[in-house]
Symmetry: C2
Subunit: 136 residues, 2 copies
DNA sequence: CTGCATCCTTAATGATACTG
DNA sequence: CAGTATCATTAAGGATGCAG
């Protein structure tokens, strides 16, 4: 029982093999997928990789403030989830490049939208915080 | 110095009072705003409230698996950030309703897009995980 | 350069009991 | 009903040193 179809009525034998998931259900495994992408580090890494493949160090420069451990961990998880591709070049010194997979590329648009929201509405958020904190 | 303009060249005296933020910079305060919305609980709460205002208990039913404490904390933060409005009705038993503010409503579209991505691409993510775990 | 291993600190979340 | 308060648990994050 992986989850329940979204609608109330049930369709008879769907043609597509695509399962219908619903992240609002606690038992639905698709929630793990939402937790992965609804995450500030994931969002910033995907955005950083949206233009071109980057090396580990380049990524760490773009995503300012992220520690090496967290960058490693996040990249590993993204690789496991098929969002990022890791390519190792047999060179000395070693070189590793990360790039978005085709699946990962489909995240650019929604995550860039989030980034745009955060940047364009921060003034309002900040004002709301000040107002909230200044009331008895 | 709240952040640096996005582009490399600087525009001469922008007309709008809107500040240009960049979430990729560690020192940029707009990142707190990204961290708030790039969060699975926030996403699910905003989506749950996208149709209509809901009471505390109704919200907890929709966002399955969230504990009372986490729901309270998240709602309080969203209220402080001007995304959710909290209305208390002087009744017995007490009734409290939460609804999106106009600012919060602007989040429905980008966050629904994330939800849609999670649900429609979960099969691919799952397949990638299996493939990743099944290799030496 | 990359990134793993380790240890440590802090933040997030959960469970429970209790109050207006 | 809608919280608050407390404690316990877990996850995330950071710092450092070392190895391929």
């Amino acid at each position: 029982m992986p989850g329940t179809p979204r609608g109330t009525r049930e369709r008879p034998a769907p043609q597509r093999s695509t399962t219908q998931w619903n992240v609002m259900m606690a038992t639905c495994p698709s929630r793990t997928s939402l937790a992965r992408i609804a995450n500030k580090w994931t969002a910033m890494i995907v955005i950083a990789l949206s233009d071109s493949a980057l090396r580990f160090g380049e990524l760490q420069q773009q995503v300012q403030g992220i520690s090496g451990k967290v960058l490693t961990d996040t990249l590993r998880t993204l690789e496991r989830d098929g969002i990022v591709d890791r390519r190792v070049f047999a060179e000395v010194p070693p070189r590793v490049e990360y790039e978005l997979t085709p699946l990962g590329s489909t995240l650019i648009e929604p995550l860039s939208a989030l980034r745009h929201w955060a940047e364009s509405h921060f003034d309002e958020v900040q004002a709301a915080r000040v107002a909230y904190d200044h009331r008895p």
